[in-house]
């Protein structure tokens, strides 16, 4: 029998036969590891999350007509779009607008590509189904409130067409949309329905485009579009793209700070738990020393236990941390995160190091216990 087999036997017995005691220590390590790995996951996931998040705040380029015309054509848009990096395009949504009346009250009707609209305006909160068939419309919350419409209601739209002829059309409400913006006073329908109603072919008022690029690149892209395209001008939607970087940095710094604080708290927590464990085991340490154990042997036993605690605590923590990060991500960003397998060994290694560091002082004091305590009664 090798010497270390008995060493392992002692360590595992100490851990498993003193379950309730070790459970506290394990919990401390696992909790720390969970919060740490969770925060690290979020830390690295934030740029990805926020990138999507900012993109989901809608378009970052808007196309409008240039020159004296107030509209541009489908072909102009196609040409302009060809100057954008194809793989980074999230969506391009054309719009046509017309003032119409429902029940003698004026509203804005918008004809659009409903599928693309979902991509460039993912933050729209739609209760109901996006229009599928001809004659279906998506109405803003304001419209729904004013005219008392709800999903399934039918309403009539009147107005004057491109050829100055009055028109009247019936639509069914397929859904009501909340956006927190002016869109709530709009009635959205497919371009086809819009053209059938108001006439005019292929003419567009604006187009929104969402491109997944950094704000610096966006500027370059827009410049090249404007140099090359005709009848159409691209403009950046400044509000979001520029604040993106600043917000990201601040958020990451915040998480970084929180992670550092948690790391210190974890170490204090594990250290105090370990100190309590050592204090509780003074007699046992004294006994072992009375039996001839050297300081190094005592330290090796405690360190061995810590490594076990670090491994199991780290493993538990890595799993719990992922669940934590997932919960935060789902609740805050409404998106799931991807699992990083590398994080498991990293968390375990970190747990071992933290546990060992936290145990350094208690283990040293453990090794210094005077064997004479054993003969002296309680």
């Amino acid at each position: 029998m090798k010497k270390y087999t008995f060493y392992l036997k002692m360590i595992t017995s100490s851990l498993f036969r003193r379950r309730s005691r070790m459970f506290t220590a394990l919990l401390a390590v696992a909790l720390g590891a969970a919060v740490l790995s969770g925060l690290v996951t979020i830390y690295y996931d934030i740029p990805r999350q926020m990138g999507q998040e900012f993109r989901s705040y809608g378009a970052n380029i808007v196309f409008i007509a240039s020159g004296e015309k107030s509209y541009f054509y489908d072909d102009d848009l196609k040409k302009a779009v060809s100057y954008l990096p194809a793989k980074d395009i999230v969506g391009i949504t054309p719009y046509r607008y017309k003032t119409i009346k429902i029940n003698e009250q004026p509203f804005m009707a918008a004809g659009t590509d409903l599928e693309q609209a979902q991509k460039t305006s993912p933050y729209w909160y739609v209760s109901g189904k996006w229009p599928q068939k001809d004659g279906e419309a998506l109405i803003g919350q304001e419209v729904a409130d004013l005219i008392r419409l709800k999903t399934g209601s039918v309403f009539s739209v009147v107005g004057t067409g491109a050829d100055n002829k009055p028109f009247k059309r019936d639509f069914t409400v397929s859904a009501v949309v909340q956006t927190g913006g002016s869109e709530e006073a709009f009635i959205f329908m497919s371009l086809k329905d819009f053209e059938n109603m108001a006439g005019g072919q292929n003419a567009l008022d604006i187009a929104e485009c969402s491109v997944s690029v950094s704000s610096e690149r966006l500027g370059i892209i827009i410049k090249s579009v404007n140099e090359n395209a005709q009848g159409i001008t691209a403009r950046p939607v400044k509000r979001i793209s520029e604040s993106e970087g600043a917000v990201l940095t601040k958020l990451q710094a915040l998480i970084y700070l929180v992670t550092a604080i948690i790391l210190i708290l974890t170490m204090i927590c594990v250290a105090t738990t370990m100190m309590a464990v050592v204090a509780e085991r003074r007699k046992e340490i004294g006994l072992k020393k009375a039996l001839g154990a050297t300081n190094r042997m005592i330290a090796a036993e405690f360190l061995g236990e810590d490594v076990f605690l670090g491994v199991f605590g780290g493993l538990l923590g890595a799993v719990a941390g992922f669940i934590l990060a997932q919960a935060v991500s789902v609740n805050v960003f409404a998106r799931s995160i991807t699992f990083q397998p590398l994080l498991i060994p990293v968390t375990i290694a970190a747990s071992i190091i933290i546990t060992a560091a936290a145990c350094f002082i208690p283990v040293r004091s453990a090794a210094e216990v005077d064997p004479a305590v054993v003969l002296r009664g309680e």
Partner: protein, 228 residues
């Protein structure tokens, strides 16, 4: 030849003189009892003999070497190699079985040997209790595990501090019989006891009072009549 010699040994804790100018020698193979009222310095003396503490003054010569000036590390190795310790409060490692407790002493000494550890347990009548945890053993059984553990590395000197102090009569007799057998085999034993029945079986009894040797009783029955 004397295995152990205390020369003018004193131990002072601040104001308390736990031991004062102790002169004592213990011969190879001798069985010695130490008696005295509580607080008279018995445990202090055992700690010094057992290399767990150092005297404030004086010299302690064990097996020809002066251990009173050694550092903690050297004392640990002397203790490991030459001393077998038995305590009043049993002191087993509570998460190790009886067998593992005995093997722990082997492990700290040199190398664990399960077969030998089992034999040691058999010797104190606990072969069938080898896999039990201390909490599953009676007081008497725990003390016997302690004895098996103290003997496992063939110590030169067995030190027992009130080994029967916490035991009932039946177990006291079992433990006493083990000591008798050890003595017969030639072991050197120093036992602290309150029990005259234990002292009766030893060759000499040292009576401590206020840290001083008040009297040494030589047991004529044993020394003269070869009674064991």
């Amino acid at each position: 030849m004397n295995l152990l010699e205390l020369k003018n040994v004193s131990k002072i804790y601040g104001e308390v003189k736990a031991l004062q100018n102790i002169e004592l020698s213990v011969a190879q193979g001798e069985w010695l009892a130490i008696m005295g009222p509580s607080g008279s310095g018995k445990t202090t003396m055992m700690n010094i003999i057992g290399c767990m503490d150092k005297p404030t003054h004086g010299r302690v010569i064990l097996d020809g070497t002066d251990i009173s000036k050694e550092n903690a590390k050297a004392l640990t190795s002397v203790r490991r190699d030459k001393i077998g310790l038995i305590f009043q409060q049993f002191h087993l490692i509570n998460y190790l079985t009886a067998l593992e407790n005995v093997m722990a002493a082997q492990y700290y000494h040199s190398m664990q040997d399960e077969k030998e550890a089992l034999e040691a347990l058999a010797r104190v009548g606990l072969a069938r209790r080898a896999k039990h945890l201390p909490s599953q053993l009676s007081g008497g059984e725990q003390q016997r595990v302690c004895i098996a553990r103290a003997l496992i590395n063939y110590p030169m000197l067995i030190l027992a501090d009130e080994p029967t102090g916490n035991l009932d009569e039946t177990n006291e007799k079992i433990v006493l019989d083990i000591f008798k057998a050890l003595h017969k085999e030639g072991s050197t034993i120093v036992v602290v006891t309150h029990d005259p029945e234990v002292a009766e079986n030893t060759q000499r009894t040292v009576i401590l009072e206020h840290g001083k040797i008040a009297k040494i009783n030589v047991n004529k029955k044993i020394n003269g009549g070869n009674k064991i």
